[in-house]
Symmetry: C2
Subunit: 330 residues, 2 copies
């Protein structure tokens, strides 16, 4: 039985939303996993009692501290040793859980994951993998915000890690990788990207399609888009507002019945990040999934699915093997 530790105190609507996400995940999925809700026992119990028949495959792990969404990550992690983020990750460290999920303070989850789970050899800092919805299969973009400046070698590392994630969790047996740039030509871009182009091109362990541009992210030109965390974060947050703009325009210009139609519901469902669960923190030894603070129940439920697939597929072990192979670490 796979054991998922879920931060019950993380996110704008905690503990209600994480608890309900866990209940729904268990209702709707086969009995391959259980959820450990990590947080203040009384608050979590109170939420849990609102849901019928929810005792099965759910247990509570008490954590008396809570890290606020705007606390300084490192100070919070060091100071609050009984925080739900720390306690939840310690479960994985000690072998009592297989994965951790949080919609709480992203910086704190990243720092604590790095500190407690450790990193695979060859990884300097973990990367955030974000799924960008397209009209067919989503595109994995990494890094989406953990690493501001990236060396060519780090970018190559993202290419390998992203390829493993695409194979294991997204079901792409032969994932292709593109390097985000401002033109197709190898001489385009800043020093780091130009250096990464050369490394990626000569790496026999990757299916590198060359430079891709902003316009290629949604076209399905490749499975994995590699970039530094600055541009990845800007693009991700930009994209997350596009559905909202589209809805505003439709509200103004088309019939309300059209907007309320099933078809339009399906359109917005494709564009809804909640469909894709959370963003994996890649490069750590283990499984750590970050969700938006504003995640609804469906996002938490789907993040549990992402975490279960990551454990089942042995994602972390495969990333370690990939990085240890010849091509990955120079």
């Amino acid at each position: 039985m796979i054991r998922i530790a879920l931060d019950a105190m993380g996110g704008d609507f905690a503990p209600a939303v994480p608890v309900e996400g866990a209940v729904r995940a268990i209702e709707e999925s086969p009995a391959t996993f259980e959820v450990h809700l990590v947080g203040r026992r009384d608050a979590v119990e109170r939420e849990l009692h609102k849901h019928r028949g929810s005792g099965e495959r759910i247990q509570i792990v008490d954590a008396t501290d809570v890290i606020g969404m705007s606390e300084k990550p490192l100070a919070a992690i060091r100071g609050k040793r009984k925080s739900s983020i720390r306690v939840g990750l310690e479960l994985q460290k000690s072998g009592s859980a297989d994965a951790f999920i949080s919609a709480g303070n992203t910086g704190a989850v990243m720092a604590a994951s790095t500190l407690l789970l450790g990193l695979h050899p060859g990884v300097a800092r973990p990367a955030i993998g974000a799924l960008f919805p397209t009209s067919s299969k989503p595109t994995l973009v990494l890094d989406a915000g953990a690493n501001i400046d990236c060396s060519p070698r780090e970018l190559r590392g993202f290419a390998h890690i992203g390829s493993v994630y695409a194979r294991d969790v997204l079901g792409r047996p032969e994932p292709t990788v593109g390097l985000l740039n401002i033109g197709e030509e190898p001489e385009k871009g800043n020093e780091s990207v130009r250096g990464a182009f050369d490394l990626l091109k000569s790496d026999a362990g990757l299916r590198f399609v060359g430079n891709v541009e902003g316009r290629d992210v949604l076209s399905g030109a490749c499975d994995v888009v590699v970039c530094d965390g600055f541009v990845g974060n800007v693009m991700l947050k930009f994209y997350e507002t596009v559905a909202h703009l589209f809805r505003e325009l439709l509200e103004r210009e088309v019939d309300p019945d059209v907007l309320a139609s099933d078809g339009m519901g399906r359109v917005f469902r494709v564009l809804d990040y909640a469909e894709y669960g959370g963003a994996p923190l890649l490069g750590v030894r283990g499984v750590s999934v970050i969700c938006h603070g504003s995640s609804p129940v469906r996002a938490l439920k789907n993040a549990i699915g992402v975490a279960v697939r990551s454990v089942e597929s042995q994602l972390s072990q495969h990333i370690a093997a990939e990085l240890a192979s010849d091509g990955a670490i120079a």
Copy 2:
């Protein structure tokens, strides 16, 4: 009478589209300007004859060379002295025209504009200003691709130049400026952005609203978004594919009548870059407007409007004055 030099040989559908763009602009606008079509006289004349009554306020300036869309910019500009790009900009240099517009090789237009028009004092390289459609007024993002790495001082220069453009051409009397970053806090971002934050914050000549994130570009959080040309270019090209994704999803999920409705037409019109004409090349002494290679007639027509407004409002003179004022050049 304002004189607009238009590259009749630039773009994927030249000379047909530039010529028709000029004809439509003149038909639909007051008689404040004339258009000089720069290109191979016979080819341009042939196109022009397809349009009735088009002789008025249009003249042809012969240029026997054409720079291809994929030629190396500097070599092409130096080698092809009779190219439409070079001849068109020389008209402005010699005082025979007030503005230049091209849907041709962007790099060549940038290089030739810099070389022939020169730059305002304090400008190291020109910046491309791109308008991002929102549900209300568009947001100006610069740089959108001319400058890959930017120093804090260059970013501050973009803030000043963008503010002038917003006032003069977009009609925003008190434009606000945001610095694109991955978080609101001053300590976020790379070294260049952190340095720019300090410069912008202490600059009394700007209405600086602080760091903005990817999610703020479409929300109308500010009139001008300042960023380096790498992230600006990625975000612009990404955005340009979003309308296409919407259309694909709608085609799959909703009734064809809905997609063909007037309301939906208005939605896509908001998102269509052709509405906004072209992207001004800012920092040059004069007016130079760059259009997409794939621009339709409407984009060229609207680019002429942008160029006319730029000349009428004395944009270039105002940028020079802004940069010469205390705040702008340290």
